[in-house]
Amino acid sequence: MGFSIYDFSDFINNIHAFLIETFSPAIGNIIGMAIVAVCFLGFIALLGLSLVYIERKVCALFQQRLGPMRVGKWGTAQTVADIIKLIFKEPLMTKDSDKFLFNLAPFIVMIAPVMAISLIPFASGLQAVDFDIGIFFIVAVSSIGVTGILLAGWSSNNKYSLIGAMRSGAQIVSYELSVILSLLTIVVLSGSLQLSVIVESQREGWWIFRGHIPAIIAFIIFIVASTAESNRGPFDMAEAESEITAGFHTEYSGIKFAYFFLAEYVNMFIIAAVGATIFFGGWMPLHIGNIEFFNNAMDLIPPVIWFFMKVSAIIFLLMWFKWTFPRLRIDQMLTLEWKYLLPLNIMNILLMSLVVLTDFHF
């Protein structure tokens, strides 16, 4: 069983072959699936824990304070303590709320990121599913999440929640367009929707550099639109605590609230991962054309590390937004999308097509 930190495909294939040989193909497949599921669940839990901690520390950095410091070394166990607290909290429910939908909503919100995360290529060969419709699939499943938010707001039987849900519904549905179109801009360049192919196509350089102006515009639009789609500041109208208390999850407590919280962070990770994969070459090390020694030197750093470095950089950017900007108003936000981002985006796709047709890229 060959194991290399640079390429996981052999390792994964070997495990797969081993499972199928040891058991029958059907059972082997099921065991394989179970292993993948457990890995992802563990990863999501770890992701939630660490992102909450990182967010606190980054926030503290911007606010010139230390952040959590008491529980564990440098407060590292703070989120664990918080999770324990959330688990033991009483699950409250408002009078006359629709209990079935109220309990269902957090799970629907969770489904979308869990389905999307399976397509992310963490390193070469380290990808659970590799559909040829890759990006389209991610976009498709992430559109389910909004249903959960709408249900949560409606079934809470609280006017603040309802307003929050309406806001977030309008917001997510409109910004989804911009996210898709900005991703399509790069798809035009790479010629494929399949994530592994897109990563592979960036062997000679990341698209953000090779696609120059239209790619940079697309990246800016992507970052703005996906921040909005994940309901994070400065687009956190749906949970604007100073206006509508906590928006759609006002009435949630305990572990159900934790689900919404977790979904937000996993979503943030997916945005960062998709952004890194499409624009910054995913796990692909920094390559410049055919300069051999430079490329070889860069190849020494394992792809997983590259991937997580890029993802962290984008996550840091998203957190930076949240902790510096004031919140937009709902109508301003919709104006931004429909009047500025969307036309700009369509124009940008045309520009990119022109660039591709004339071969005016690196």
Partner: protein, 371 residues
Amino acid sequence: MEEVAQNIETQEYFINMGPQHPSTHGVLRLMLTLDGEIIKKVQPHLGYIHRSIEKMCEKDSYQQVVHLTDRMDYLGCHINNEAVCLTVEKGLELEVPDRVKVIRTIISELTRLSSHQLWWGVMGMDLGAITTFLYGFRDREMITDIFEETCGARLTMNYNVPGGLMFDIHPNFQNRTKQFLEHFKKKLPEYDKLLTGNVIFTERTKGIGYLSKEDAISYGVTGPSARASGFSCDVRKKNPYSAYDRVDFKEILFTEGDCFARYQARIAEMWESMKIIEQLIDNIPEGEYKAKTKAVIKLPPGEYYQRVETPRGELGVYIISDNKKNPYRVKFRSPGFSNLSALDKMARGFKIADLVAIMSTLDLVIPDIDR
């Protein structure tokens, strides 16, 4: 088809904002009549922390009355104290020493600074920029430290007594105040960088919550909120008290009357406050820190009215005395109460998110409204 679209009436609905709501900054309840997210009507409901301070004053001696005023506008407590002391001194026809006047003015301005810092932080937070909150508190901390060293308390200071001050300033006072000024002069431009120049912020505040000068006067809106509409109402200029007649400062006036003007007015006021402190801090006259008063103060029968400029506007203290050791009637004309009355006028036609911006530029302190 068109006629149908015109005749469709959307259903208005009520929503209770408060008494427990993050952006009412206390227990204020607003009953909103909404059409979608557009505000049709705002009805404030007050009294959740009404303690009837005015009634309590009728049973207290004049020294005790001073203590109660701390609990009104707790962010401008020193100025509230000063208002009562000035009224009593007016009644006694007592001339306080120069030193007292200067120290009172310096601490008043420090109080104004600290109140505006807190307002700035909270304003940012109301608009979703949580970082400002901590910036505001970080700088405010230095002022409360100075207060703590001076009189032992950080929030409800009670430094004033009728006739002067409770005790003399700490020897460190001048140094620390100068240190603070130096520090804050660097930090205030940072405030501008973080919020004032931000596109989102200006979009959220410009043209929002317009209040005309006539309305400001008619509703009795005072303080920076009114000066942003062009109503020149700075008591420090109109009826100078303490040492305000000997310092040079500008009355900040804007004409736009929107949230952004109110925001700018307060930021500009912070610069003016620093200017005032700078002029006085090195020139604190020597002398007594307290004029001689009798242990039991009895005001000659009559009516005394004193106005002061708190961070929120004009505070009026109206004392009617019938020659007893406690006042016959005390009325506090609190700035927040009148400012709040204009909220409905300002908020109609705007959205919930704008209401939050309007409320934070009015800088309401609920105990000041409820008394």
